[in-house]
């Protein structure tokens, strides 16, 4: 719904992509490398009423929690603006993930081969939610190198899910990851586009 009441300049349409992965996997690095400005930070204050009941069973009433999210903007055209949101790292913030994932084009799950298990929760989450995602193996120096097939096996990824190598510090590399995700998302939601 547009609640513009007057014939004013048209607002661009906003699209969001989530950048997920374990702590230190390079989420903010990727947001920074490909965004047009330095990463921004926004905060949501959660009260106990806003958080799922089972998350706070051990916490006293009327507590509030601040969840910070790093994000960046890419102005694609006059009509489309893309926002990249780094997901909050702690699993107790699934509530925030739900809000972020709602209406998202898809997600990039950054994997660090030194701590591959750290991205299991993200893979589980987006699989269950039906959000299109790709896995991007961030190539840290000194990290063990694996064949992508080995990573796929370790993460028990369906063959249809793209898995790519990347260097999250590099703009071109991060951009290629986003392109892989957009293509994958388009494939899942309709027939293929472009090449």
């Amino acid at each position: 719904m547009v609640f513009d009441r007057s014939e004013r300049p048209r607002l661009p349409r906003a699209i969001k992509i989530l950048i997920a992965g374990g702590f230190g996997a390079g989420k903010t690095t990727m947001v920074a490398s490909v965004s047009e400005t330095r990463p921004l930070r926004t905060e949501e204050i959660l009260t106990d009423r806003g958080i799922g009941v089972d998350d706070l069973t051990s916490v006293e009433a009327k507590r509030t929690t601040t969840v910070a999210m790093d994000f960046g903007r890419i102005t694609l055209t006059n009509d489309y603006v893309l926002y990249l949101f780094g997901t909050p790292g702690q699993e107790r913030f699934w509530f925030v993930w739900d809000e972020l994932a709602e209406g998202a084009l898809g997600a990039v799950i950054l994997a660090d081969t030194r701590r591959l298990a750290d991205c299991f929760p993200s893979v589980d989450y987006f699989e269950r939610r039906g959000t299109p995602f790709v896995v991007a193996v961030n190539c840290f120096e000194g990290a063990p190198t694996f064949e992508l097939d080995e990573v796929r096996l370790a993460l028990q990824l369906d063959p249809s899910i793209p898995i790519v190598l990347c260097d999250a510090r590099k703009r071109d590399s991060s951009r290629e990851v986003l392109i892989a995700l957009v293509k994958h998302s388009a494939r899942l939601r309709a027939e293929p586009v472009g090449t």
Binding site: L11, I15, L40, R73, L76, F85, V182, S185, A190
Partner: protein, 126 residues
């Protein structure tokens, strides 16, 4: 960004950092209009209101910022206020017809292949 369990955050019943957002909105937690999410876009419309408009400094800051289209998340980051506070303030401005705003989800159809083409073209030309 993240608090560790070792920090004595639990001892404070009210974190001073969270007082300001509620003062700014005079205790309101829900906007009077609209369901703005983090990527809802807002754009200031019409001339900048003068003194006596009944607006708070934060409202005026938002209007200044939104001369170019900005998302709720961006406004929140620039004003250093939580997104929930910005939603309330944007609702006020929308109510006074000082901003146009749109909700994103219903606006962008995720099965719209033209959208995917536009996004791919935009990314390729970065």
């Amino acid at each position: 960004m993240t608090r560790t369990d070792q920090e004595p955050a639990e001892e404070h019943w009210v974190d001073p950092e969270i007082i300001r957002p509620y003062v700014v909105t005079r205790g309101r937690t829900q906007p009077v209009h609209g369901k703005f999410d983090l990527i809802s876009m807002a754009l200031a419309v019409g001339p900048m209101p003068g003194p006596g408009s009944g607006l708070d400094p934060e409202h005026l800051q938002i209007l200044k910022l939104c001369r170019e289209p900005k998302s709720v998340a961006e406004i929140a980051a620039h004003l250093d206020l939580p997104a929930g506070t910005i939603r309330v303030l944007l609702g006020d401005l929308f109510d006074k017809q000082l901003v146009s705003a749109q909700e994103p989800q219903s606006e962008v159809d995720m099965r719209d292949m033209n959208m995917y083409r536009a996004v791919l073209d935009g990314l390729r030309s970065l």
